[in-house]
């Protein structure tokens, strides 16, 4: 889903089977110069069509190939994963939008202290989204501890999650603002492995060392042992440092007596490390350090701790320590803790690690983004980035307090999903950012950056058969152009598939788009009708209340409806006629079929010619049919012919004078109509006409006598 970098196409998916090609038949006359046409079709498919001249009679005149293009991303997240994230983010997003609406209306009335602050809602949203991006990193300590494992290889974290957490930390989470440096320490601990390929990291150093640990006999003789301890300490992974220190040979029981001083020093350093004061509200269990919430307390503790380190550094015990590596290694650790720049620089791999070590040991009181930014620039100067990394642009944008850069970088590196969802974080606490992202821009066609990114994301969703149905949630949050695009999206969905059609209509109902819903039903009706599914066609046109088309198809239908009661084919129509039953729904000209069926039923009920009541009903039904202008002329004669039984009723004349006259007039009209040019000749024998005329005349005579 992320868009490929400008100017270059994404790589072709390396599927073992070549994409299928479809023959293209055309009847274009030669001479024909070959042509190639390229266009995008659904999703990431590129359609290549080739028109050429058929070489022979049997050959087709062209070919169409659909090529599936991979997403332009680095493959960190597969398409299916992206869809899962897209599905999962619908609810949090919709919830936040509805909260925003009620929040803005509420805050206008009163600013009650009982209501949550806006950023708290955003935090809730952010936590929901974050949980979609991957599991929380399992804690570094498992239940059964292997003394030789200090780095747990957990599920590979993603840059996407790392970037999200970074933005959450800086923009949404107001509670953690005083502890930002410590939050960054934790963040790097979780995501340092992401930088391994680009820069080489403390994490990868530790991992390599852990793999070789089994082969090492005397661990403290190996310079790498001291190197990795220094690195881990520099980035604040105190648990790992202490654990590694306790692997020191002097702890072994058989050596304890010989190396008492040495062991004492190792232990002293380990204890000092584990007592490091941290400016943060709390630490997870099993994590080392002592927490201070208030700055004065922290400063006091910090100075005391630094004093202890200094004291140990000047201690006379170092001279008694005969193991050179241990002595040098431990003193280097002390230097790191004292904030010695060259030690820190040597211990860290890339600028972020150096940056973190600054927060921990050089400037633990850093506050404010301005100073954080200048520090970051100094660290980048000291350790320049050899190659770029996805997260760096976002990181520097955040520290530089440049919201537009952050948005542009996250959109470029992580795609439209990120841009559309991260805006909520960016605007969480800052009026400036809100104004910047919500301001309508002339250059964007009078829409805001926020709307732009939502529209782009909605377009990406719309292009996929499985995700198009969540696009309306995003489109409906776009005030300017959302509804217009939503209409286009709904019209674009294919109508033949029933489930899809019903989903489409459901979306219309949710957003109160009655006109569109009725148009879609008309499209469905016409589609089914054209494909011979007359029942479905009539149903959907009825649902759409499209009298015009119903009248049209009625004329087509009448041609094929069986005309006589004895006609067996009429039975087939029963099912369709049943559909027309509901009174509320417009049936158009088709209403006639319903009445015609009812009339036929009545005639059948009369049966042997004794049932007076039924006969009278049949007469009324006949009169209604003959009077109704929607009764097609071609049915007049069959109707009258079917009613011969009624006209020749034995006991008494069923039709009175005026009724008979009306029927006679209709018959006359029919005879005149024969002379007109467009007359459709009924496939009825002439005798029928004569016998109807005779019966009508007889009935007229009887009726006159009766009256």
């Amino acid at each position: 889903m992320p868009e490929p970098d400008g100017g270059e196409l994404g790589p072709l998916s390396s599927s073992p089977t070549p994409p299928p090609s479809y023959p293209l038949r055309h009847s274009l006359r030669s001479p024909l110069s070959p042509r190639v046409s390229l266009c995008w079709c659904r999703g990431n498919s590129l359609r290549v069509s080739l028109f050429s001249q058929p070489a022979s009679e049997v050959e087709f005149g062209g070919e169409v190939v659909e090529l599936k293009l991979n997403d332009g991303g680095d493959g960190e997240i597969s398409n299916a994963q992206w869809r899962r994230i897209a599905y999962g983010s619908v609810s949090p997003f919709a919830m936040l939008q509805s909260r925003r609406n009620s929040f803005s209306s509420l805050s206008k009335i009163n600013s009650s202290p009982y209501h949550l602050e806006w950023w708290e809602y955003v935090m809730e949203y952010s936590k929901d989204i974050n949980s979609l991006l991957g599991n929380p990193k399992s804690s570094k300590n498992s239940l059964i501890e292997d003394p030789k494992t200090f780095v747990q290889k957990s599920e590979e974290p993603t840059c996407l999650k790392a970037a999200w957490e970074l933005m959450e930390m800086f923009y949404a989470d107001k509670l953690s603002q005083p502890w930002l440096p410590e939050r960054l320490v934790d963040w790097l601990a979780d995501y340092d492995s992401l930088f391994a390929r680009a820069y080489g990291t403390v994490y990868s150093k530790l991992l390599n060392f852990q793999n070789e640990l089994i082969n090492l006999q005397v661990i403290e003789d190996d310079p790498r042992y001291w190197e990795v301890i220094a690195s881990a300490l520099a980035v604040g992974w105190l648990e790992i440092v202490v654990k590694l220190l306790r692997l020191h040979g002097s702890y072994q029981l058989d050596q304890l007596s010989n190396r008492e001083t040495e062991n004492g020093l190792v232990e002293a350093v380990a204890v000092l490390i584990s007592k490091m004061p941290r400016m943060r509200p709390e630490l997870e269990p099993r994590r080392l350090g002592e927490c201070y919430k208030a700055k004065p307390d922290f400063i006091k503790a910090w100075e005391k701790w630094r004093g202890q380190i200094n004291k140990l550094d000047c201690s006379a015990f170092w001279i008694q320590c005969h193991h050179v590596q241990t002595r040098e290694g431990l003193r280097n650790l002390l230097q790191i803790m004292l904030g010695n720049m060259s030690s820190l620089s040597a211990a860290t791999s890339h600028w972020l690690e150096l940056y973190i070590s600054h927060f921990l040991y050089v400037r633990p009181f850093t506050a404010g983004l301005e100073s954080m930014y200048s520090l970051a620039q100094r660290c980048i100067q000291l350790k320049p980035m050899s190659n770029s990394h996805k997260l760096m642009g976002v990181m520097i944008g955040i520290l530089g307090e440049n919201t537009e850069v952050v948005l542009a970088e996250s959109s470029k590196e992580f795609g439209p999903w990120m841009a559309a969802h991260a805006i909520e974080l960016l605007t969480a606490g800052s009026d400036e950012a809100e104004a910047l992202l919500r301001e309508e821009r002339y250059s964007l066609g009078e829409i805001s950056l926020e709307e732009l990114h939502r529209l782009v994301y909605a377009q990406v969703l719309s292009s996929h058969a499985l995700s198009w149905q969540i696009a309306p949630v995003y489109l409906s949050s776009c005030l300017k152009q959302g509804m217009g695009l939503l209409e286009i999206l709904l019209y674009r969905q294919p109508v033949p598939h029933k489930e899809l059609l019903l989903k489409n209509l459901e979306i219309c109902r949710l957003y109160e788009l009655d006109d569109i819903s009725s148009n879609i039903m008309k499209m469905a009706g016409v589609h089914h009708w054209k494909h011979g599914r007359k029942g479905s066609g009539v149903y959907w046109l009825q649902q759409a209340q499209d009298e015009f088309r119903l009248n049209k198809i009625a004329q087509l239908l009448f041609g094929s409806v069986g005309k006589s009661i004895s006609d067996e084919s009429f039975k087939q129509w029963e099912g369709l006629i049943e559909l027309l039953h509901s009174e509320s729904k417009a049936a158009g000209g088709l209403e006639f079929l319903l009445k015609y069926r009812d009339f036929k039923r009545l005639l059948q009920q009369i049966g042997d010619g004794k049932n007076d009541v039924a006969a009278q009903q049949a007469v009324e039904s006949l009169m209604l049919l003959m009077k109704n202008p929607s009764t097609p002329q071609r049915f007049w004669l069959p109707l009258l012919n079917d009613s011969l039984k009624l006209l020749n009723w034995q006991d008494r004349p069923l039709l009175n004078v005026s009724q008979t006259n009306l029927l006679l007039n209709k018959l006359q009209e029919l005879s005149i109509a024969r002379l007109r040019p467009h007359f459709v000749k009924p496939d009825f024998p002439m005798e029928a006409l004569n016998s109807v005329r005779l019966s009508l005349a007889t009935n007229l005579g009887r009726a006159i006598l009766e009256e």
Partner: protein, 360 residues
Amino acid sequence: MAVTQLPRPPEVYKLPQYKYVDAVRWLPPISALDRHAVLALFDSDGGSSTVEIHSLLNPNPDASSTAKSLTTLAAWTPPSRVSSLKTTNLGHRPFIAVSTVDGSVHVLAAQNAHSLVEMGAAPRVHAGPVSCIDLVEGGAECVSVGEDGRVNLVSLGDSGVSSFRFFDSNGLVSYSAARWASPNEFATGGLGFGLQWWDRRKPGGPVSQFKCNWTQGRASGIVHSIDIHPSRKHTCLAGGSSGTIFAWDLRWQQQPIILSGVVMGDGSKHSVSDSSEVWEVQYDRDVKSSNASNFSSSSRMLPVMMCSEDGILAVVEEDEEPVELLAEPCAINSFDIDKQNPSDVICSLEWESVAILTRP
């Protein structure tokens, strides 16, 4: 929407599949201990469909967590996307009937959980997609219906699969649901909330039709699913558009029993899902013994489970508030109640996942 919550909510496990779940059913038991489900999946990236047997596992049987997972054991590739899926048990062997959007019907047999064998196919018995198939209980006979207006009987015999066109309305009527009532009778449903009753001994048309103007001016709709309880073969339960669930008693022809949805006259009915499509209905087999006596004698409707486009899975009873089991932000397209273990329900969610519910 007034819905009561269960005193104890069911345990729900959501299992993402990363493929669209076209249909889902429990598979009749192959062995005493294992439990299996059949899933029809559509991979939108590759554009391919599969029918797969999954085994339902408890990954940590020792741990207190009862989290579940699905593992693919066997798979079969249909020629096109699956439109309907049914299972039955025939001679202690599970049979699966599959219909496709290309109008074909396939009969598969599971020799064991690891092999899924196609016993035969009836290609292109419908013009266009097959809307619905149903396998007769304990037999290898299938009824299939489609929008093209055909009613086909597909049966598995010694010489493979044979099909017979029982009726063809030539598109004048479209059918969207079908269900056997007995080895000879079945019901179908379609547009305008119409239901038809058929008897294979009386070909040439439906024996009885149900369609009356009971929607009272409200939008008419489509029947999406039918169920018939083995102990009450005269009642045909149907679910369809506008949150409608109704039952048609053959002995009492023109007046339906309405369980949900449409308002009748002045007496308003409980509606479980406002104007949304009810995709599937099944009689709830998980009736606790205390309630069972209420139903056995009286003419009261048995409880019904339903799933809907607006993401509700609920149990509906006549004249009572519906009990909601699951409320999802996406559609629940189908579900199946385990016949052996009726407190367990498996359902397919629109957002490429499957949910398994275990009721207390």
